[in-house]
């Protein structure tokens, strides 16, 4: 599966390479997580999802969602008002 959007936050060579980038910018909590759930449902186990959001709650909610759903949380990077978090589907 290919990334469906180019996210300017995925710049460094050390960032995880996502299979899918979910653009959840401007969505308020809990919509970024709900969209992530709908997106990851269509992905194979082991694939990497990147969630790109403006909601500051993502930093807390993405790891909590991963723990609750058995996915692996790889980390989060913030830049200005935007942040991107990476998840490996469990």
């Amino acid at each position: 599966m290919m990334a469906d959007r180019v996210c300017p936050l995925v710049l460094s060579a050390t960032d995880p390479q996502p299979d899918v980038v979910l653009d959840a910018r401007r969505l308020l909590c809990p919509m970024p997580i709900m969209r992530a759930e709908a997106t990851i449902r269509e992905m194979p186990s082991g694939a990497v999802l990147a969630v790109w959001a403006t909601d500051p709650g993502l930093a807390q909610d993405l790891p909590a969602w991963c723990a609750s759903h058995g996915h692996q949380f790889l980390g989060i990077k913030e830049q200005g008002r935007e942040r991107i978090g990476w998840v490996v589907k469990g």
Binding site: R26, C29, P30, P56, G57, Q60, H69, R81
Partner: protein, 353 residues
Amino acid sequence: MNTDLETQKPRAALGLLSGGLDSILATRLLLDQGIRVECVNFHTGFCIQGHTGAMRNPEPGAKPARHDALHAAQLLGIKLHMIDIAEEYVKIVTNPKHGYGSNLNPCLDCKIFMVAKAWALKEQLGFDFIFTGEVLGQRPMSQRRDNLPHIEREAGVEGWLLRPLCALRLPPTEPEKRGWVDRQQLKGFSGRGRKDQMALAKQFGLRDYPSPAGGCCFLTDVNYSRKLQDLWHFRADRAYTIEDIVLLKAGRHLRPTPRFKVIVGRDETENNFLAGFRAGRWSMQAVELAGPLVLVEGHPDAEDLALACRLTARFGQGRHLAEVQVSIEGPGQQEMRLVTPLPAAEIPPEWYI
């Protein structure tokens, strides 16, 4: 472990988890009986969680914004199903069969709707019963003794809704009668006090739970309800869109005439947030001066737009200047205007919604 004798699988319960202390404790009581638990949290569009944090600059020292139910699920080590019911929920808010609470909160209809939804999910997932963290008499509308059986009856789940925190004050439910749940290990809490819950939390070693003062939805908030009432009144229609109810959460709202209102951003984060809603609306902002982004809602005429520009200047850093340049953008047009900021004395208090 409490198991299904035929399949040897543990009994499974689906709970409604708000993320508040009561629902956390109810879940723990069942987990401790060896029951397999998953929970559901419904997104109505009015949930308070983190929204204001996402719209405004956080207060110094404020806890980072987070979704309480998700964190409760993490704490409890259970799976949380997050379900968006915002569209269907419109009919509950606009036309509640059992009326509203002290603001525009249709708690009884809301509870019935959520319990029925949880039951449908329980059927789909193949669970045995459902439960909530309700405490008898804790809330005036939806947790009164005479309303609790009513909720189950109307939701079509009579006998199958367990309330672990106040079960001892209620008739035994089917899961108790069938021996799936040990009634002796449930509680008989009642009333508005929190002492029993705090003691149980301590016993469970729980510390990181949200304070009950946080509230669960904007519909119980008097200021929010006033804005929603205003929206319905001036549209002459009780319908709303998700965008409408999100915008009611942001900015200062002033209605100078029945034709229009303005939403005034209160800080940079809120301006950025409101900027995402400019499409299809008039918006304005002072040029080269710090100040709000202003959105105009309704059907303003030319005079109204001129007034909105003066209000924009009024709420910005140029409020004491003789003239301020304001950029105004509307469907398919953009222009600059030089306006006199509206003096504070010319803004009657009744404009503030």
